[in-house]
Structures are given as C-alpha cells and as structure tokens.
C-alpha cells in the first residue's frame, strides 16, 4: 500500500511540476482548452444541443415507436 501511495505521489508530482513549469504557449493553449470546454459543455450542450429523443421521450420504447413512425411516414 505504501508503495502504491508513493507511486501515486510521484505521478502527482510529475503533473504538478509539468504544469508549474509550463512555457508561454503551454499556458495560452490551456486557457483556450478550458474556455473551449466551458463553451462547449456548459453553454452549447446545455442550451443548444439537447438530445432530441431523450428530451422528448421518457423511455426507449417511446423513442423506438417515434422513429418507427417517422420511418414509415404514416402518422
């Protein structure tokens, strides 16, 4: 167990040192990544891209029936 914690500690230290000593471009691209992920998941996905079938139907059976109706075009 002690060896496991030691290994995990070394991995954490590796990442910590890596981020701490990051270059100018590294800092810039991390800012861009975080802003991008924020826009994508907390704005676009939440407000503009709901899953159509999951939002409008509560079960897979209802979703299947809806698509079946769409495919057969006889509603």
């Amino acid at each position: 167990m002690a060896r496991l914690f030691s290994a995990l500690g070394r991995v954490a230290r590796f990442y910590y040192d890596g981020f701490r000593t990051m270059s100018w471009w590294g800092n810039r691209v991390w800012i861009i990544i975080l802003v991008k992920l924020f826009i994508m998941f907390l704005i676009l996905k939440l407000f503009f891209f709901p899953d159509f079938l999951k939002t409008n139907f509560s079960s897979d059976r209802e979703r299947g029936d809806y698509v079946l109706e769409q495919l057969t075009g006889n509603s």
């Binding site: 890596g18 981020f19 471009w25 991008k36 676009l44 159509f52 079938l53 698509v67 509603s75």
Partner: protein, 521 residues
C-alpha cells in the same frame, strides 16, 4: 411525418455538420502525421545521442502541442449534432455507430492523452527510451482514434454486419468483424491517415523552407526537410496507391458517386480516366438534373476500366445506366429499387400497425421477414429508395464531385513532385540556393489543407443523397426541430471555430518566429 420536413431544415443541418466537420478536419491530419514525424525524429535522437535531434524534436513537438490542444474535443460537437439535429439517424444506426466511437474514446483517446503528458512534461524526468515509447504511443493512439471513427464513417457508406430490428427501429450489430473489416473502412483508413502524413510532411517542409528563406536555423531546417521529405514521399506514394484501391471498392459499393467523380453519364467499355476536363451543360436533362459534357479533356485511355474491373476492356457503368438500369449488365434501375424499397417499407408499416393493435401473430411473422436472407438482400437493402419520388434524385452534384476529385488528385501528384525535389536538392546540398523551391514549399502548406478538405468533399458530397447508403437519405435522418435553432447554432459554431483557428494560427506563428530554444536543458 417525413414528407412534411422543411427542406431548409435539412440543408441548414447539412451545412452545420459540414462546417463543424471541415473545421475539425483542419486540426486532425496534422496531428496524425506530425506525431509520426516526431517519433522518427526522436528515434534518431535516442539512437545517435545527437543533441540537435532533441532540439529539432522539441521544436516540432511545440507546434504539435498547439495544434493538438486547439483541435482537441472539436469532434465532440459532431456528436452533439447527431443527438440534436440527426436523431432519426442516431436511433436507426443503433449500436453500430456507438460501438466504434466508444472504443475510440476508451482505448485510443486515453492511450493518447496519457502519454502526451509524458511527451511534454517528461523530458529529463523519465528515461530516454520511456520518453521515446510515449511519443510512439501518442502517434499510434492518435491514428487508432482515427481508425475507429473512420470505421463508423465507412459503415455509413457500406452498411454491413448488422440486422434491422423492426420492433426497436434500430440496426443491431451481428458481426463486429464485418464492421471492422468492411472493405470501405480499410480503404478509408489507409487513404485518410496517409493523406494526413502527407499534409504534416508538407507542413514541416514548408516551415523549414521559411527558416531557410530567412537564413535562420539552417541545420534544423535541413534535417527536418530530410525527415519530412522521406516520410512525405513514401506517404504520398501510398496515398496514390490507396486512392486506387479505394476507387475499386467505391465502384462496387457507391457506383453513382464513382460515375459522378468522372462525370460519366454513358457506361462504356475501354473507359479512359479524365485527367483534366471542364464541365459544360449539354442541354440534356435526367429529370431535373443537368447532364454535363466534359470539354478540353485530357484522358488516359482504358485506365478507368482497368481501375474498376482490372482489365482495359472492362465495362464501367455511367449515371444513365445506374439510374435507368441496364439489364444486359445486371444493373437494376432506380425505379425497381424504389419499388423494392417501398415494399420493405410497407412491411415495416404493417409491423407498426400490428404492434399498435397488439396483433402478436402478425408481428411475429412480419418480424421474421427482417431475418429472412431473401427479403433483406432483395428488398430491405433498398429501403431508403422508398423515400424518393423520382429516380434522378439519387444523382449527387456532378460538378462539385468532379472538380473536387480532380483538384485533390492533382495536388496529390504535385506533393509527390515537391517531396522528390526536396530530397533532390538536399542530396545536391542546394536547398538554400533554390529560393523558388523554398517559396513553393512554403506556399504549398495551404494547398495540403485544401487537398485534405476536398477529399472529404468528394466523399460526403459524392454520396448524397444518402446518409446511410441505400438505407436512409439525409432528409429522413433529420430531427423535427426548428430551422431557426439550427441557423443560430450554425453561426455560433462559425464564430467559435474561427476564433479557435485564429488562436491556433497566431500562437503557432509566434512560436515559429521564436524558433527552437537556443540551448536544450
């Protein structure tokens, strides 16, 4: 009901998907190819111990990192669009599309993202060999990501290894092996990744040429041109080879796209391949579609027949054969396919009605039809044709497909010449003296992106009107949402992606101008 869907909704949904896919593809091929170039450079460093190669590797790794970081997750937006704009499609494909994408996410992406940290943070902290192994694993991981996505994309062009379940209205995978070893997937993967290698090689040769023009970092530039020149030349020859094998598969599974790429309306034996040509409206029409004559044509005799059938006298069907049918050649007319598709759809409708009234006996017998080989191969196979009103609706835009294909292939051969010249001038130690070549190499960078994007234009525009070949046209795939919502998100994406592109280019240009560190620690 599908027939009432607004055409502008379909077109805006298509435009949005095209916009996001094309922006996403600006980042991907450089990652695919540059990762391997880095692996080669670092391998030379580890084998020789020469510090100049470490410096070279770290410089290109910086540009790789910028491109990777800006591009990462841009593909997820496409998955958002599947759920919102293309819900009928997403449901219909079932687990077939989901399984390869899940494998991509779990295996390849984690492999890539784990070892990328070692690549950037691990210099002087892990052993040289472990660092090198990490660089190779990032390259392999990035390309494995592409493999699974391309398998999913290939299934849309040649749906195999599945059975349709009328009860759930979904296709269910019954042969993972058939899905993975789909001939379209193999051709698509080899052609796409090697084209990414070419793009990255042009990028490295072009940026190195800029250093030589500016008389800076000559050693870095010349060694980079050597590495990328060899990799690029081998890759561009492989692109030509895999393009040839792709054409053969395409002629079998998407013959209308293949005929549109050649603007071949009349089928013929001894068919030549048009190298250069200009399309002109002949005045003739197939339904509402124009028939084009190919003017100013330079043709290689019999090559099209050889490419498709393996012999010069082989018959290559034209668009008219494929639309009107050609019983002599065993080609069904689209009208016949529409009739068969309509029958398959009627069976599905009957199943739905039986389900609604709880007629289990009819449900059982109708569901059994979807497991019957004869019904699947001769009727359900043409299910998507039931949505057409006219046979000519299966014809894609011939000018877009024809010109995109020719520009892509022309640029592909130009890159072979570019790499050959780079290696020739390297061998003669005259790279710096041939300024015209250096400028040509630098200006070729946008051409590599153009060729890469046009490859997807040929693939995706050429297979219209299908989202899933023969099973589902695009207008059936869209969700019943408002066009205004799609328009809004289209412009949001346009702004977001343009901002990302500007950010990437500006950070990258700054790093290129800064150049590599003068001394490596």
């Amino acid at each position: 009901m599908i027939e009432n869907f607004d055409l502008s909704l379909v077109n805006w949904s298509r435009a949005q998907f095209a916009l996001t896919a094309m922006y996403h593809w600006l980042f991907v091929p450089l990652t695919l190819g540059l990762s391997f170039i880095l692996a080669f450079m670092e391998t030379i460093y580890v084998r020789t111990g020469d510090e100049i190669w470490k410096r070279i590797t770290k410089f290109w790794m910086t540009l790789f990192g910028i491109n990777f970081a800006i591009g990462v997750a841009t593909g997820i937006i496409l998955e958002f669009e599947f759920g919102t704009n293309w819900s009928n499609y997403s449901w219909f494909v079932g687990d077939i599309f989901g399984a390869p994408l899940a494998i991509e996410g779990i295996l390849a992406f984690f492999l890539e993202s784990t070892f990328i940290a070692v690549m950037f943070f691990g210099w002087n902290k892990v052993s040289r060999k472990f660092h090198l192994a990490s660089t190779w694993l990032v390259a392999i991981g990035a390309n494995l990501s592409a493999l699974w996505i391309l398998i999913a994309n290939a299934w849309m062009e040649n749906p195999v290894g599945m059975a349709f379940n009328p009860d759930t209205a979904r296709n269910e995978m019954n042969s993972f092996r058939e899905v993975v070893f789909n001939p379209v997937a193999i051709d698509k993967f080899t052609h796409t990744v090697t084209s990414g290698f070419v793009l990255a090689s042009v990028f490295v040769v072009g940026i190195s040429a800029w250093f030589l023009i500016r008389r800076r970092e000559q050693m870095l530039a010349i060694k980079s041109i050597l590495t990328a020149g060899i990799f690029g030349l081998v890759s561009s020859l492989l692109v030509a080879f895999t393009g040839d094998t792709s054409a053969r598969t395409l002629a079998k599974v998407q013959p209308v796209k293949f005929a549109a790429m050649e603007a071949l309306y009349e089928g013929r034996t001894d068919a030549g391949l048009t190298v250069i040509g200009a399309l002109d409206d002949s005045g003739e029409r197939i339904g509402e579609k124009k028939v084009h004559d190919v003017r100013l044509k330079i043709e290689i005799p019999k090559l099209l027949s050889i490419m498709t059938t393996g012999k010069g006298s082989g018959y290559v069907p034209g668009i008219k054969d494929l639309v009107n049918g050609n019983p002599e050649r065993g080609i069904l007319s689209v009208q016949e396919m529409m009739n068969r598709g309509t029958y398959a759809r009627q069976v599905l409708t009957d199943y739905k009605m039986a389900k609604e009234i709880g007629d289990t006996e009819s449900m059982t017998s109708l569901a059994a039809m979807f497991e019957d080989r004869d019904f699947v191969d001769n009727y359900f196979r043409y299910f998507g044709y039931s949505y057409f009103e006219h046979p000519w609706q299966v014809i894609p835009s011939v000018p877009v497909t024809f010109y995109s294909f020719r520009i892509m292939v022309g640029l592909g051969f130009f890159f072979i010449l570019l790499f050959a010249l780079a290696l020739w001038f390297y061998r003669r130690q005259s790279l710096e003296r041939n300024k015209w070549f250096l400028w040509l190499a630098l200006l070729s960078i946008p051409l590599a992106y153009l060729a890469s994007e046009l490859g997807w234009v040929v693939t995706e525009m050429g297979r219209q009107p299908w989202i899933i070949q023969n099973l589902m046209p695009v207008n059936v795939a869209v969700s019943n949402i408002s066009t205004g919502t799609v328009q809004t998100t289209f412009w949001l994406f346009a702004v977001l992606f343009t901002a990302l592109l500007i950010a990437e280019v500006s950070i990258m240009v700054r790093q290129i101008k800064t150049g590599p560190k003068q001394k490596e620690e």
